[in-house]
Symmetry: C2
Subunit: 192 residues, 2 copies
Amino acid sequence: MSMQERKQRERAERERLIVATARELAEQQGWDAVTTRRLAEFIEYSQPVLYSHFRGKREIIGAVATQGATEMAAAVRAATATADSPRARVTALTRTYLDFAARNPAVYDALFLLDGGLAYAREDTPEPLKDAFAALLECLAEVAGDGVHPGLFTEVFWACLHGIAALTRTGRLLPEDAESRVELLVDRLAVL
Amino acid sequence: MSMQERKQRERAERERLIVATARELAEQQGWDAVTTRRLAEFIEYSQPVLYSHFRGKREIIGAVATQGATEMAAAVRAATATADSPRARVTALTRTYLDFAARNPAVYDALFLLDGGLAYAREDTPEPLKDAFAALLECLAEVAGDGVHPGLFTEVFWACLHGIAALTRTGRLLPEDAESRVELLVDRLAVL
DNA sequence: CACTGAACCTAGCACCGCTAGACAATCGAG
DNA sequence: CTCGATTGTCTAGCGGTGCTAGGTTCAGTG
């Protein structure tokens, strides 16, 4: 049954195309510009085809988000692996996180600002999201300090990173002092 | 010219009504439910009347945001005024901020998540927003630590608070460990 | 060849933010 | 007091949104 296999392959390929197109469009013109009509036009299919792959726009955002989570986890692990002191690792993690948010604003929005219909901090949380949190935890556990639960510390550190990323992204913090903020955050939060 | 004065009064009153209604509706059913049609129906005028007060929906969100900023500044000042040690003041500030975000989610969204068309961190930033930041700064300056610019420290502290508030609000952090996070944040960030 | 089921599209629903243009009420000038 | 101008408000409608019902086309099977 090679025929059916080919069809399945093509279907999977088209699904990747949808997600990639949505991401690219969002990155270039913002999520507001990602409408089902435009998306359909870009992939050269009619609108309802999208709904044979995803329940709705929300799920498309969710797909971009999970893809982004995988990339972010990889980026964080790569950055922390090459650093050779706890302090260097935490600094690398911080810079990498904020850099990822700045370079992929649409993906970051899909992950942490928009509603992609994903469950967070639960058992049924998608694996890539859990893994992204795990990547942070692996690095941050060693600087949590005595008697502080590593998970709690990671949550707080992550929240701080997110706050800086989110406020910077929406123009509420100026990008100029970014480096000073990183230093201050690492100095104070991490127990070295 | 009492006639014109009365008209102006009524007009101002209607504007307050619009903002209050938008806020209430957003608080009860979320900002998505705040449509110009519904808003118009609630205030018992036709849709275009809204546009004689505000340029568009964005400006209405902005009006709710500035109102919220004023309230938040007052809440923070009230909470920090009654505390009698730097540590108690910072803890009170933190709790008050997160409490405000939790109790007024729609207002918090208008302030820090949605686009209300307001300028932030600039000269032409509306006074209430500047004042809210000032309220934070007044309390946080004394715990910034030597050689750390109070403004920078306040920005970072605020970003951390926002991160926690935002992630909690969107279900990405569980509300259970809220108190532990407050303790950890104050312990680490503030120099006491 | 006739039939079935899947794939896909056209057309349309109800809603959105926003605005043009009609209409009534009020005002100031002659 | 009358009459044009101004003001305030409305109805109706534009172009867009996410999403879906229902029809058409076409490949695979008995």
